[in-house]
Structure formats: structure tokens, C-alpha cells
């Protein structure tokens, strides 16, 4: 069992499994050094960070795909952390993570657009809050903000609704592709030796030396365990006898408008938080759409990812005020995600050295931004808990297919089309996704197990027609490439 353990420069890729028995980890010495539970953006980032070192690592996920929970349904913003609570762990990790992810994105081809944000004040109370927010931003290390008066605001965002009084400009805020980010981490982790076990739900844990995790696909033994279970982090904690916090799912519904709305807005338009609530944002996406949301509803059901008539009506009412012309555009998609809120305002990242167990919980809205910062922090906690990291090795390089409109797409790449005509054949017309891109995604390191997974890898079927024109063709390609047992 030397998979993934080669010395420096000699690296074997890990395996990706979806079915069948897990590797036999029962003989002494065959156990994984670390099992990371939960392949959302945080779990994937932790697994990737561990892959820099020599421990034998597995990433296990209850769903059939990486990034299939909260990580797939968020506001897709790379934050500066300007409005975090100064001095909090979140503030530190968001700032660290933002810096790391911005660099990682340009290295691996994750689309990012540094469009900047405007916190728009619509009444006197919100206006009055702007200087305080600017001050808070400074305390969070964000020194480039400035307050714009109504005229300059209007010049920056001519399509803003009437009544905008002022705004705080936060130049560093960016938009990013959340799907590519998670997939890049997971792909690089696997390419660098991490085993990824999907459709592998942990049902029980026998803490010990080593720990024994009983999953839906058999038992796994691990010396260290990282809980990156997101919404279920409290439930998983209980398996290790910990009851430190409770996760309350906070639903955020979002409406995605057609790409023709992209011309209406130049910045991320953030609400000014007041005592009366947080309001909603209007933000461009890297795919060229405009999103409106999210709502914030505290729920009990950790699977309640449905949208509601009331939620959508409230969003539309607020959107009409912020950007009236937005409501005239067609709606491309509606979705809802659940943030893993806890009773605390800060992240709940805790090491239990005696237990050789680390919990990464309460990663609410900023998890995508902070992911690489969290990962580095967690690996430090593991090392402090006694994990021998060994020598650091370079990660296997990855380059992700570009899904962003600000960067060249294959259908307009003359050289690529000349080299491979499959990139000259557009299958999904709304999103301009070519046969070549779909083919490559279906044979990638971590292939999708569903059409939704294929959509997150290529944008196929993500457009305004939602499959009216291309649905059957995309499905035929998917079913031809992915055997029935590997489909959800």
C-alpha cells in the first residue's frame, strides 16, 4: 500500500471510487494517516493541502460528487473580508484564504473577475453606517475603500434604481467560479496521491487508535480524522463524543438572470447591514449572468434546498428597487443553498489532539474565500496534534477548463478548433459548450455522476433554455460515457 506515498518528485495519483469495497485498511500499518470527511470546498482544500506532505490521505464524501452541498449553491464571491469581525478566526482565515485563492486561481485557470463591490445606502441610517464600515474594513486590513457620493455612485452604476444615496466602494471584492474551485482542489488532491471515495457515507465512528469509521461502503481505519461535514458537522462531532456547537441551516435563495442582464451592472452591489437585516445583493457571475439574493431563513431541515414563492417574491421586490431593469430580463435559474450557521459568530475550528481529531465547523458564507486559509490552518492543527507531515513535496500541477466569460472559451479559440474539431461543435447553444469540453469532462480525473455534475464542470444545460435545445444531446453523451452503475 504505497499509493501516493512516493518520495519527492515521485508521486502516484490516488484513486477515485464510487462503488464496491473500500481499500482494506484493517492490517496494522495499512490504515490511512488522515481521513477527511466531507468533500465540499473546505474538505477538498484540506485534502489538497495534506497532499503536499507524505501522509496517506483519503477524502470521503456521502454524495456522489465533490462540492455537491453548500459549496455548489452560494453567491460565488471572493471576499476581501472587509466586514468580518476584526480579530476573529474568520477574519484572519478569510484574508489569508483570499490571498491564496486569488493566486491559485490564476495558476490553475479558475475564472476570477476583480469587479469590486459597492455597498449601496438607500436611506439615512444606511448612509450613516458607511463610515463605520470603512473603519471596520481598515481594522480587517482592507485599506482601499472609499465612500462615494450620489453623483459618483450614479456615474459608476447608471442603472441603479432611484433613491441611492451613497456607497462604500470595496475595490478588492471579486467574483469567482465556485464549481471549478472545489473541483480544482479535489482534482489536484487526487492527482497528488489522495484517495477520493464518493457515495461513501460515514454512519458510525469508533474513536480509537486507529479510529474506525463505518461507512455505507465498509469500514475505514484512520489515525487522524478531519470533520469537514459542513451542515452535518455537529452530527459528525457527536460520533466522536463532541457536542461543541449546533448547526442551524440558514437558507439562501437566489435568482440568476439571463446574460443580457450583465450589461446592467458593473460591480457587486452589496447591501448595507443594519439592525433591520442584511438585505440582498446583486452581483455579476463569471458566467456572464447576474444573480439576485440571497434570502436568509433559519431552518431545521438540513435538506431544505427548495425555493419558495415568498422567498422569490421578496427577492424580486428588492431587486426591483436596486436595479429596476433587471426584472425585465429572463430568469435562467433559481436555486437555494444552506449556510452552516451556528450559535457562534465565528468559525468553529477545533483540534482535539488527544482524540487525533479536528473539527472544521460553522463555516458560513465565507467558506469559499477562506478555504485555502482554513486548509493551511487545519494542517497546522494536525501537525500540532502529532501528525508527522514529513517532507513537503510539490503538488501535481492542474489546469482547469475555463468556464468564465472574461477568459477565452474554446468555441472562439481558432487554434484549438483547428487542432480538434470537437471544440468547433457547439452542443449547448445558450452557454456555448462544445462537444470537446463535454467529452473531456466525462473522462476527467473526477468524472460527474449526474447531469448536474456535468453542468458544474462545463456549463452544459446551465443556460436560458435549460435543456430545451441541447438537453437530449447532452444526456446522450453523458449516458454513453458514464456507465449506469456510476450514475446517480
Amino acid at each position: 500500500m504505497t499509493k501516493g506515498r512516493g518520495g519527492a518528485g515521485c508521486r502516484t495519483a490516488g484513486t477515485v471510487t464510487r462503488t464496491g469495497a473500500l481499500p482494506d485498511t484493517s492490517p496494522p500499518g495499512a490504515e490511512y494517516d488522515v481521513v477527511v470527511v466531507g468533500a465540499g470546498v473546505v474538505g477538498c482544500a484540506v485534502a489538497r493541502e495534506l497532499a503536499r506532505h507524505s501522509p496517506r490521505v483519503a477524502l470521503v464524501e456521502a454524495s456522489g460528487d465533490v462540492g455537491d452541498g453548500t459549496s455548489k449553491a452560494n453567491t460565488a464571491i471572493l471576499h476581501t473580508g472587509f466586514d468580518a469581525v476584526p480579530g476573529s478566526l474568520e477574519s484572519r482565515l478569510v484574508r489569508d484564504g483570499q490571498r491564496r485563492l486569488a493566486a491559485y486561481a490564476s495558476e490553475t485557470g479558475i475564472p476570477v473577475e476583480p469587479v469590486g463591490a459597492l455597498l449601496v445606502a438607500w436611506d439615512a441610517e444606511q448612509s450613516a453606517a458607511l463610515p463605520r464600515l470603512a473603519d471596520k474594513a481598515v481594522r480587517n486590513g482592507c485599506r482601499t475603500t472609499q465612500i462615494l457620493g450620489p453623483d459618483e455612485l450614479r456615474a459608476r452604476e447608471p442603472r441603479l434604481g432611484p433613491g441611492a444615496l451613497a456607497a462604500l466602494e470595496v475595490p478588492g471584492e471579486s467574483i469567482i467560479c465556485p464549481w471549478t474551485t472545489t473541483l480544482a482542489y479535489a482534482t489536484q488532491a487526487v492527482a497528488s496521491g489522495v484517495d477520493l471515495h464518493l457515495d461513501c457515507r460515514v454512519r458510525r465512528a469508533d474513536p480509537g487508535s486507529p479510529h474506525r469509521l463505518v461507512t455505507s461502503r465498509g469500514a475505514l481505519r484512520a489515525r487522524y480524522v478531519v470533520n469537514a461535514c459542513g451542515l452535518h458537522a455537529d452530527t459528525f462531532d457527536a460520533l466522536f463524543g463532541r457536542r461543541d456547537f449546533t448547526v442551524t441551516p440558514r437558507r439562501g435563495q437566489l435568482i440568476v438572470f439571463d446574460t443580457f442582464a450583465r450589461g446592467l451592472v458593473r460591480h457587486i452591489l452589496l447591501p448595507v447591514p443594519t439592525a433591520l437585516g442584511k438585505g440582498v445583493l446583486v452581483a455579476p457571475t463569471v458566467y456572464g449572468n447576474v444573480m439576485l439574493g440571497p434570502t436568509a431563513e433559519d431552518l431545521y431541515d438540513k435538506a431544505a434546498t427548495g425555493s419558495t414563492a415568498e422567498g422569490l417574491a421578496a427577492l424580486r421586490a428588492q431587486g426591483r428597487r436596486i436595479l429596476p431593469a433587471l426584472l425585465d430580463e429572463e430568469v435562467t435559474a433559481v436555486y437555494a443553498g444552506l449556510r452552516a450557521a451556528t450559535e457562534s459568530d465565528d468559525y468553529q475550528v477545533r483540534a482535539h489532539p488527544a482524540l487525533r481529531y479536528v473539527t472544521v465547523g460553522g463555516i458560513r458564507s465565507t467558506g469559499l474565500t477562506a478555504s485555502l486559509g482554513i486548509a493551511a490552518h487545519v494542517v497546522e492543527l494536525l501537525a500540532d496534534s502529532g501528525l508527522d507531515l514529513g517532507a513537503e513535496r510539490p503538488l501535481a500541477p492542474v489546469r482547469m477548463p475555463n468556464l468564465g466569460e472574461a477568459f477565452p472559451r474554446p468555441y472562439r479559440d481558432a487554434e484549438l478548433v483547428a487542432r480538434d474539431p470537437e471544440f468547433g461543435t457547439i452542443v449547448c447553444h445558450c452557454e456555448r459548450v462544445t462537444r470537446g469540453e463535454i467529452r473531456d469532462a466525462l473522462t476527467s480525473t473526477i468524472p460527474p455522476d449526474s447531469l448536474d455534475g456535468l453542468r458544474r464542470r462545463t456549463r452544459a444545460r446551465a443556460g436560458r433554455c435549460q435543456g430545451f435545445s441541447c438537453g437530449a444531446a447532452v444526456r446522450a453523451m453523458f449516458e454513453e460515457a458514464v456507465p449506469r452503475w456510476a450514475r446517480r
Binding site: 483547428a418 430545451f468 435545445s469
Partner: protein, 444 residues
């Protein structure tokens, strides 16, 4: 890279031989007429144009799908007129005949080729398996068709399970990809009461899927179920939520009378509610009509952009294939006049639908040419409406139109009044003066 393509110069005058490799954009070429979309309207226009003047004009049709013919390709039912000796024609037959006629007339019909944007007022950027191209033309005809609004655009709340689709995807699956039985689903609900809803039921039954209900907000369902028994109809009812994780488990419905319920099903087909595929038009700055959301055209299918015509379902959503083809032919005559040196008309005046009318098409009046008839679409059912046309204070026409205007079926109405419009005056307003015959609820 940088292929230099020499197009046979026998036909058509302006063939450029630019080596576009310099721009990294592949081939640059020019033709006389570029038609975007090889459906009934585009092919009919291409056939007539290619045949005109003994093949004087080079006509090229770009089709993004792998097969030409447009929507009729996957409409495996009758109602497409008659072939030779009165044999009834189905959609695929109609599509094949349309392609055959365009090709026979001398048009070049290319498939798997997508116009992705504009490089100039009459120049399109094109992606094809053979490379990227920049195609210029003297006339561009937009015939890009229409699509059904999917569940998301209709803002139907709930989860996002698999098994939720439009008739377009359903028909492609069943008629072009041969998907049958459980690969599609077991129990389906069809949402909508347009002619296409009836065809969705047909496609589901062909695939062996049980249609458990048709749900429509309209007071009645689609007509004509022929010899087969129609599925149970829930009229005056809307779908208020989709249920299920992974796969659709059911739909929650709510009647205008306040009753609610849940229908267990694993498939939901959202039908009708057409919207023009206007993206190429819009990205080229071609002015759209606010009612139809398609390019605004005059009676000769001219848009407000010189040299750009638009025909077929891109103008206003779905009409019959025969109607779309007739528009293609009518536009071809106007194209020929333009190619022969006819001037492009001034902006003219818009024709705006008001009151209970949702849209009217064509919806511009310029020099008054080509105005045979108009299509008028109502928001709610109107029995024998009195339609009136005014320009400013001037009443141009008021008449009772026989028949019922349905939200899903246009009234065709002679437009002789177009000649009385003052092209330098204000907007022309079309409205209907009869209260709706049945308005079971307020529109939101």
C-alpha cells in the same frame, strides 16, 4: 491555421479571399444572403432566394444543429400539410422536404455551424468544426426560432430534481434519441394547454410514460386528442411547488378556487409559453418589440437594422410551420427587391399592443409595403373581440373579429389600415374593446 478558402466563384459576385489567419479568426468570406437557422422559415426564404434570377445570388444557410429542418424534425405528428397526392405530411417529412427544396434551388445548407456573434453590421462570427469564420453578406435573415420557457424562467418554486423538462427536450429525447420507458419516467404531469401540450402528451405516451394529469391555469385544456382518451385535466390550476430530491417526487397544485393538492409523479413537462430565441438579434443591436420580444419588423420583415430581415418564430414564438414558411417566402420577395437596389425604409412607427392584447406582429409600419395581415395575441381569452387601431387621436380601424382569441393562439387579421398610417406620426396602438369573456382570476 489561417486557411485560405476559395469559394467557387461561379455563383455570386463578392467572394473575398482574405487570409483571416492574420486575425486568428479563421476564414473570411462573403455571400449575398446569409440565413441563420434552417427551420421552416429560413429554408423557405433560402429556397426562393436561391432559385430567383436563375441562381444569381449566393445563399448560405447556417444551422447550429447537426441536422437541418428545425423544430418539425422532432414533431412526429401530422398537421404539416400534404405531400404529393395528398399524403399527409408529418414534421420530419416536412423538415426533409424543406431542406430538399432549399438545396435543390441552389442554397448551401450547412449544419453543425453556429453564428456566435457579429463582427459588423452584416458580418457574423461563426464557429464550425472546420474552424472559425467571419461571414459577410449583403442581407442577413434571422430565422433562429423560439423556445419554451423552462421551469426556472416561470419561477416555479421547490427543489431542483431530475425529471423536469420542456416539450422540446422531451421530443428530442423520444423522437430523435429513441429514449423510452423508465429512462424517461413512469408518471408524468404536463403543464400547459397549448397545442404543444397535446404533442407532449403524445410523445410521453409514445415513450410508454403514463400521463397522470394536464395542469393549466387556463380555463380549458388543449383541444384534439383524436382517438386516444385525453389525460385528466386540471384547468384553472397552477403548479405551486416541485417536490423531491434527486428525482421529482410530485408537484403541488393550487386551483383558483383555493383547493390544493399534491400529484405524485416523476416527470413534469413544462409546455408552451414560447419566447423567441432572440439572442443573436439582440447581440447585434437589432431592435426588439416589447410585446413579442422578437425583432421588430415591418410588413416586409425588415428590422430596423439595414439589410437585416427576420422571419418565423423568432418574431413572436410559435406559429405553425406552414405560417413560418409563408413568412420566409414573403420575406424573400422583399429581400430580392432590396438586393435589386431597393432602399431601406426609415424608422417608421411602432405598432403597440395594449389593453387585453399581449402583442401584435409585424409591429412596425415603414413605407407600407407587404402588409397583408397581422397576428394578434391576447392575454386572456377574448370572444369576438372588437379590435381598434389608432394613431394619436386618429382612429384607423375598428372592427369585430370573428372567433376567439386565446392566449396560445393568434388571431390573423387583415391589415389594410397600414396604408393609412402616417409614417412620420406617432406610435400606432392596437387594442381590443371587449371585456374578457371569462377571467377566473387576477393576473399577478
Amino acid at each position: 491555421m489561417g486557411a485560405t478558402v476559395r469559394v467557387p466563384a461561379a455563383k455570386g459576385p463578392a467572394v473575398s479571399e482574405l487570409n483571416a489567419g492574420d486575425r486568428g479568426l479563421g476564414v473570411n468570406r462573403a455571400v449575398d444572403v446569409l440565413v441563420v437557422g434552417a427551420g421552416p422559415a429560413g429554408l423557405a426564404a433560402a429556397a426562393r432566394l436561391a432559385a430567383a434570377g436563375g441562381g444569381r445570388y449566393q445563399v448560405e444557410v447556417l444551422e447550429r444543429e447537426q441536422t437541418a429542418g428545425g423544430a418539425p424534425r422532432h414533431c412526429a405528428h401530422g398537421g404539416f400539410g400534404a405531400a404529393g397526392r395528398g399524403r399527409p405530411l408529418d414534421g420530419p417529412g416536412f423538415a426533409r422536404r424543406s431542406v430538399r427544396e432549399a438545396v435543390k434551388a441552389g442554397a448551401t445548407v450547412r449544419t453543425g455551424v453556429t453564428a456566435t456573434g457579429w463582427a459588423g453590421p452584416l458580418t457574423l462570427e461563426v464557429t464550425a468544426p472546420t474552424g472559425l469564420e467571419t461571414l459577410s453578406a449583403r442581407v442577413v435573415i434571422l430565422a433562429t426560432g423560439a423556445r419554451e420557457r423552462p421551469r426556472s424562467a416561470r419561477l416555479v418554486p421547490g427543489t431542483r430534481p431530475a425529471g423536469v423538462l420542456t416539450t422540446g427536450e422531451l421530443q428530442h429525447s423520444v423522437h430523435l434519441y429513441g429514449v423510452r420507458g423508465e429512462r424517461l419516467g413512469r408518471r408524468a404531469v404536463v403543464i400547459g394547454a397549448e397545442p404543444v401540450s397535446h404533442h407532449a402528451v403524445g410523445a410521453l405516451r409514445r415513450a410508454g410514460v403514463d400521463v397522470v394529469a394536464i395542469v393549466t391555469e387556463q380555463p380549458r385544456g388543449p383541444r384534439r386528442f383524436g382517438a386516444v382518451p385525453p389525460p385528466p385535466l386540471l384547468a384553472g390550476t397552477r403548479v405551486t411547488e416541485l417536490l423531491g430530491r434527486g428525482r421529482l417526487a410530485g408537484v403541488v397544485v393550487s386551483g383558483h378556487d383555493g383547493r390544493t393538492g399534491t400529484i405524485r409523479c416523476d416527470t413534469a413537462v413544462f409546455t408552451g409559453d414560447w419566447i423567441p430565441d432572440n439572442e443573436l438579434s439582440r447581440s447585434g443591436g437589432v431592435a426588439l418589440d416589447g410585446g413579442t420580444k422578437g425583432p421588430a419588423v415591418d410588413g416586409a420583415y425588415r428590422t430596423a437594422s439595414a439589410g437585416v430581415f427576420a422571419v418565423g418564430n423568432v418574431l413572436r414564438g410559435v406559429e405553425s410551420a406552414g405560417a413560418a414558411a409563408a413568412e420566409g417566402r414573403a420575406a424573400a420577395d422583399a429581400v430580392l427587391r432590396h438586393l435589386a437596389g431597393g432602399p431601406w425604409p426609415g424608422p417608421g412607427v411602432p405598432v403597440v399592443a395594449e389593453g387585453p392584447l399581449r402583442w401584435v406582429a409585424p409591429n412596425r409600419v415603414t413605407d407600407g409595403t407587404g402588409a397583408g395581415s397581422l397576428l394578434v395575441r391576447a392575454r386572456d381569452p377574448l370572444v369576438r373581440p372588437v379590435v381598434s387601431v389608432t394613431q394619436g387621436d386618429r382612429l384607423l380601424r375598428r372592427e369585430l373579429v370573428e372567433g376567439t382569441a386565446w392566449p396560445h393562439r393568434s388571431l390573423r387579421w387583415a391589415a389594410g389600415w397600414v396604408r393609412e398610417v402616417d409614417p412620420a406620426g406617432g406610435p400606432v396602438t392596437v387594442t381590443a374593446g371587449v371585456a374578457p369573456w371569462e377571467t377566473p382570476r387576477e393576473r399577478p
